[in-house]
């Protein structure tokens, strides 16, 4: 009992503290695994049973692989991949932090205990970005649907007991599963237009609201933004017939991705000694 209490006390204090550090970045840099090999999903199990999986002959073998991975996950020794990134004492300290954080996080996942308390930190947002859905019908007409995260009139509204669906709507921009789920739900609720046309697709747009600054007249700032038009291209498209959705990258995201890719591919500047070696080989000036 005392050991268990000691462990949970340690977990409570250490995990809350580690969540305040950049331990997840250290984990990424040092390539420390976040969790053991995941449990097989029903799709994977069916594939194995049908003999279509090249790695596993039976479902039992797949579960065994997960169990084995749990044992190796609990080993505190760094993997070869990780060792390649560890050059200094600081890296070893970061490894220790990342290792403890991920292992406690894993136990937390198993028991349903999370010790991350970010509530409104480190800053509170000054703008409100919310998704809005556009329903496109077979006769070419379209209709906009305001979700719970966007009051139809920002100057006059109130909401009680809607936390659960509201929480989902607030995560639409970040979470693929939430977008797909909400789209399926909208497809069911708005299957036909008022004129009887069938719903063909759903798009989601971002709408940005500037929140009144301290000292500003809140009413006039919000009143100007009533039924504000969505900005830019849709970030999500859902086809009702196939039931499949697609995340659409914005131009900004695409450019950022390309820039990152180009930076990763760019050769690093050679050091002066390397330059001298290259010059010597090709016969150029030292």
């Amino acid at each position: 009992m005392r050991i268990a209490l000691g462990f949970f006390l340690f977990d409570m204090i250490v995990r809350s503290t580690l969540n305040l550090t950049a331990y997840d970045k250290w984990r990424e840099h040092l390539e420390v695994a976040r969790a053991p090999l995941r449990l097989p999903t029903s799709v994977q199990r069916t594939k194995i049973q049908a003999g279509n999986d090249p790695k596993f002959k039976s479902v039992g073998a797949r579960y065994w692989a997960t169990l084995k991975s749990c044992f190796s996950f609990l080993s505190p020794l760094p993997r070869e991949k990780t060792l390649a990134h560890m050059d200094s004492a600081l890296d070893y300290a970061r490894y220790a932090g990342a290792w403890i954080g991920t292992r406690l996080g894993f136990v937390g996942n198993l028991l349903g205990i999370d010790e991350d308390w970010p509530m409104f930190s480190p800053n509170v947002r000054r703008i409100h970005i919310t998704p809005r859905a556009r329903l496109i019908y077979s006769d070419g007409t379209s209709e906009q649907v305001w979700l719970l995260s966007e009051p139809y009139d920002p100057t006059s509204f109130h909401r009680w007991f809607v936390k659960r669906p509201l929480q989902i709507d607030l995560r639409l921009a970040k979470d693929y599963d939430a977008r797909l789920g909400v789209s399926r739900n909208l497809a069911e609720r708005y299957a036909e237009s008022e004129d009887g046309a069938k719903l063909e697709s759903i798009e989601m747009f971002e709408v940005k609201y500037s929140l009144p600054k301290p000292g500003q007249n809140a009413y006039s700032v919000l009143a100007k933004q009533r039924q504000k038009a969505p900005e830019g291209e849709p970030f999500w498209s859902y086809d009702v017939l196939t039931g499949k959705g697609k995340t659409i990258e914005s131009e900004k995201d695409k450019k950022a991705k390309e820039k990152k890719k180009a930076e990763a591919a760019k050769p690093t500047e050679p050091s002066p000694s390397e330059e001298a070696e290259v010059n010597a080989e090709v016969g150029g000036a030292p």
Binding site: L5, F8, L9, M12, S16, T17, L20, A35, P36, R38, L39, P40, S42, F106, N109, L110, G112, I113, D114, E115, W117, P118, M119, F120, S121, P122, N123, V124, H128, T130, S149, E150, D153, P154, T155, S156, F157, R159, W160, F161, K163, R164, P165, Q167, I168, L170, D177, A178, L180, G181, V182, R184, N185, E188, L211, P214, G215, A218, L222, A223
Partner: protein
């Protein structure tokens, strides 16, 4: 006079081993059970179709890969898409919360409530916020803590005036850790962050995705929201120090109680306030439960009986 180290040791032994009054944990159990039950009835049930219906956001097929990747193992048994089966699971969840509140088969009901809460959260993880992390912690400890010594149906068989204190201590430390961590996380915004600039509460009250009503309908002046923001930040960061001394503890807890009430009244963050306030009875000292509670109980009983004795409809002559 004992040397310092011996006094510290005695204090530590007292902290972890001196039995505490059973009411502290019983009140905690009742509040958690009541909060979970009302959460289920007011926040889940009216939106069943959106959350867990046939075309809801919590369908198994939609979330299975996420659950497997994140080791949310309840998906191994909580996989049915049938509305009947899901409805029965929900009913079992509601019954477990009710039994927990009443203290009937307390350990088993706490186990069922913990398991099913985790199962429903895993199935549709997007419905979760910080308050739901708190209730998961509550339910986990309720499986082991001696919470049915009094005010429980189980207490009829085995009543106890005092119980082991470890659960009380763990809950107290958890609350300190929670407030300290969130306070320090806010300080990470630095001098140019909204918390140290004093604009945080202003923007929180303006957040169109969170507030209960439009700021335009009830604007709170900056000269009120700025000092309140600083006070909230200082209280969170210093909570652990404040509760060390009985005099400052009283302020810290009353402030916390009002803080959570204000959060509930102004922000649509669900039952976060109620789950957080469930921690508070464990802080009420034994002395109060022994001396003051019987007086309050008599007053409450008189008040209740006066209401019950009043006829619902007064006949008109």
């Amino acid at each position: 006079m004992k040397p310092d180290w011996q006094r510290a040791r005695t204090a530590l032994e007292h902290f972890w081993h001196e039995p505490v009054r059973a009411e502290r944990l019983a009140a905690f159990r009742i509040l958690v059970g009541a909060a979970l039950l009302t959460d289920q009835l007011f926040q889940y049930l009216p939106f069943w179709g959106y959350l867990f219906g046939p075309n809801g956001t919590g369908s198994f097929a939609l979330n299975e890969a996420w659950m497997a990747s994140n080791w949310r193992w309840p998906f191994l048994f909580f996989f049915s898409e049938s509305q009947w089966v899901l409805g029965l699971w929900f009913l079992a969840w509601v019954v477990s919360a009710l039994c927990l509140m009443l203290g009937y088969k307390t350990r088993w009901s706490a186990f069922a409530a913990w398991l099913l809460t985790m199962a429903f959260f895993s199935r549709n993880t997007n419905v979760k916020n910080g308050g739901d992390d708190i209730v998961q912690i509550h339910l986990f400890w309720l499986m082991f803590a001696p919470v049915s010594g009094t005010w429980a149906l189980d207490a009829k068989r085995r009543p106890s005036e005092f119980v082991e204190p470890w659960a009380v201590r763990l809950m107290q430390i958890q609350l300190c850790v929670m407030y300290a961590a969130t306070g320090i996380a806010k300080l990470k915004g630095g001098l140019h962050g909204t918390w140290l600039q004093g604009t945080s509460l202003h923007y929180v009250f303006n957040d169109l995705g969170l507030v209960r009503w439009s700021y335009a309908s009830l604007p709170i002046p900056f000269w009120i929201s700025a000092p309140l923001g600083y006070l909230a930040l200082a209280w969170e960061v210093l909570f652990t120090l404040l509760v060390l001394h009985p005099k400052t503890r009283r302020f810290a807890l009353w402030y916390g109680f009002l803080f959570h009430i204000v959060i509930y009244l102004t922000l649509e963050v669900g039952w976060f306030s109620f789950y957080s306030m469930a921690f508070y009875p464990v802080w009420i000292p034994d002395r109060w439960w022994r001396d003051d509670w019987p007086v309050w109980r008599t007053k409450l009983q008189r008040f209740a009986s006066s209401i019950l004795a009043r006829p619902l409809l007064t006949p008109r002559l």
